[in-house]
Amino acid sequence: MIKKSILLSLAASVSLFAQSELEEVKALLAQQMKVTQALQKRVAMLEKQQKAMKHHTVTHHKKHHPVIAPKPTTTAAYAAAESEAAPTQQTAQTFDQKSFLPDIAVILDGSAVGRSVNNSTYETRYIPGFSSYDPNEEVEIPFNKNRGFNFNYAELALHSTVGPYFDADAIFHLHPDAFEIEEAYITSRSLPDGLRLKLGKFRSEFGRINAIHQHAWRFTAQPLVYEALLGSEGINDSGAQLQWVLPTDTYIMAGVEAMQGSNDVSFGDTEENNLYIGYLKSSIDVGDTSTLLGGLSIAHGKNDTGHNTDVYGADLTLKTALDSYSSIAWQSELLYRDKKHDDGSDKQAGFYTQLVYQYNQNWSGGVRYDLLFKNLSKEPDDLDRYTAMLEYKPFEFTKFRLQYTYDRSGAFGIDDKRKNTSELLLGFTIEAGAHGAHAF
């Protein structure tokens, strides 16, 4: 009995207590709402006042001619007073990290191709003396493989500053059936004395065009000599790079790279890292409007027979600006390879030279000549290719290109038959999002 009454009274008191608390909270809420409303009114009024004041000062400005801005000391004092009075408005959510998001760019590339050989024949293409056709191996033709339509890639490029010491870049190539890490590397930000360090997987700065991405090339296909001596990927490998800008009036940059050497066209020894690259680049102005950029490069590594391969490169670019939007650029590159094996050494070489005329912001046109002039003793040394292109850019980040190629460098199939091919290509490339400007 007693127990029951105690329990009841307890329950009652609890509910009573709860009741009174609820009332209290309700009253508090009502009060708060009143306060908020009052505050809102005040804010609206103040805003009105401020607008009127601004308007007044503007008209004042107009009437009496511009007033010189207040002295920095007063501005600083004013700012300090202001910050004391009202804490800064935070618009972001607590722990929001949006402002740390990297720059993101998407690059899309596709084409329509007409070619004088059908797809199955084109897949058996090789360059006599430089590459070979193996029916058992899958062929790798990275761009514009098909007659008809090609979607080459969607490239995703990310760039972000990691901290005071490093920047990070990652470039992914997404093909219709593959995901590929094109590059992913960090670059030092704070090394002294003109030094810069890069670590990761990246395109080597050997030569002129090797480090440049396909979407920034002036012709859709890779130069023949690169394809022949370094394969369709060029030198793109894991490793480390150190570059030094010399403290001279003339631009001189020296760079060294140590890489894994997984490029099996010229290197590819799998026992240990085998590739060492060095280069020297310099640039001078010729007159007010012309610039000359030249480079010498060497790549020293071990090939899959365990012997040494040396590739030497020399490049020269001359660009003359005719006005803000018009220029002529002449670019040439020569590569020489000495590839040793059990029975001696293979010495092969080739070059390309290209001339691009930028007519205005929208239109440009160019021609390129490719030649492999030094080959194995029994192989042809007149393997060449002619390319001409016309490019239309309705906007800076949108590009359409019509390109004609007459190629005398290929042989097809297992019967060693050289065959000249011609190709007409209409391609598009777009760069969307936050994409950094391209270098010279």
């Binding site: 001619h65 010189i68 102005d285 400007a437």
Partner: protein
């Protein structure tokens, strides 16, 4: 003999003591020279003859940046197409973005024309606002003060010199502004068409109405449809002045002028852009004379 050696040593040391300052555009070079005096050595990257948006990032410009103690940029996105790759290659942490030696003078300016919505569908827009504040001489002093603030941090030893130079430049410039304002007063109420929105700061300050642009959208060349519409508009609004910068094509402006009877005025956009604009004063005087003769 000893004396000669000593003097050359001292000379070379004092020469060495000058700090290297790189400016993206010529007008900034002139302001730095005015407030930096003998303590700075100035190198300008862009030529005033070309479009400031489309400077060729020549590798030959890299050594100056590599050795700079300070880099002064216009900012507000104007150099985005050419300076970042040069900065990256120069490997100089002193002038990297965010370092004390990197000076973005747009921070000293209240930017106008800030787009409400940012999309590349509207052409080459600058999300920060209009970056062409250099065409208004009233922006020179805030920029000079901002540069001196940073010079005094980078080269603390000469902070007093910079303050003195600034005071001298300040009074020189205020005198100039008085005279400039008097010339510009005659232009109030004028309506103009400009090729690109290069002169908005100046026009707004002096009550001149920028009615339209010759180009279709920022950075996008005029289309014939846009040109015809512009001719109609100019006739309707009785606009008889086209402001043309020295570096864009002049054919369209001339065509419009022929159809409307308007006059094409070529205005410099920077120090040295047209002949006879070698100093800051000459640059602004040329603008005032050509706009409000």
């Amino acid at each position: 003999m000893k004396k000669i050696v000593l003097t050359t040593l001292i000379l070379s040391v004092s020469l060495f003591a000058r700090i290297n300052v790189v400016a993206s555009y010529p007008y900034l070079g002139k302001i730095i020279e005015a407030v930096g005096g003998d303590n700075v050595k100035v190198k300008v990257l862009a030529s005033p003859k070309f479009d400031p948006h489309f400077v060729i990032p020549k590798p030959s410009l890299i050594p100056a940046i590599a050795r700079a103690n300070m880099l002064v940029a216009n900012g507000a996105g104007l150099e985005i197409g050419w300076l970042p790759p040069l900065l990256k290659r120069a490997n100089n942490p002193k002038v990297r973005i965010g370092a004390a030696g990197f000076v973005d003078v747009s921070r000293a300016i209240h930017l106008i024309d800030k787009p409400k919505a940012v999309s590349r569908a509207y052409g080459d827009v600058h999300p920060e606002g209009n970056p062409h504040f250099d065409t208004d001489p009233h922006n020179v002093l805030p920029i000079a003060r901002y540069i001196v603030k940073h010079l005094s941090i980078v080269d603390e030893a000469h902070a007093d010199d910079y303050a003195k130079n600034l005071a001298a430049f300040s009074s020189r410039w205020k005198r100039f502004l008085g005279q400039f304002d008097a010339t510009m007063r005659g232009c109030r109420g004028k309506k103009v068409v400009q090729y690109h929105e290069l002169y908005n700061y100046l026009l707004r300050r002096y009550g001149i109405k920028p009615a339209a642009t010759v180009e279709l959208l920022p950075g996008i060349a005029p289309s014939s449809k846009h040109t015809m519409a512009l001719i109609m508009k100019m006739k309707k609004m009785h606009i008889n002045t086209i402001l043309q910068d020295p570096y864009h094509e002049k054919k369209t402006a001339k065509f419009i002028a022929a159809k409307t009877g308007a006059k094409v005025i070529i205005l410099p956009h920077d120090v040295g852009a047209v002949s006879g604009t070698g100093t800051l004063e000459a640059f602004y005087n040329t603008i005032a004379e050509r706009l409000c003769h």
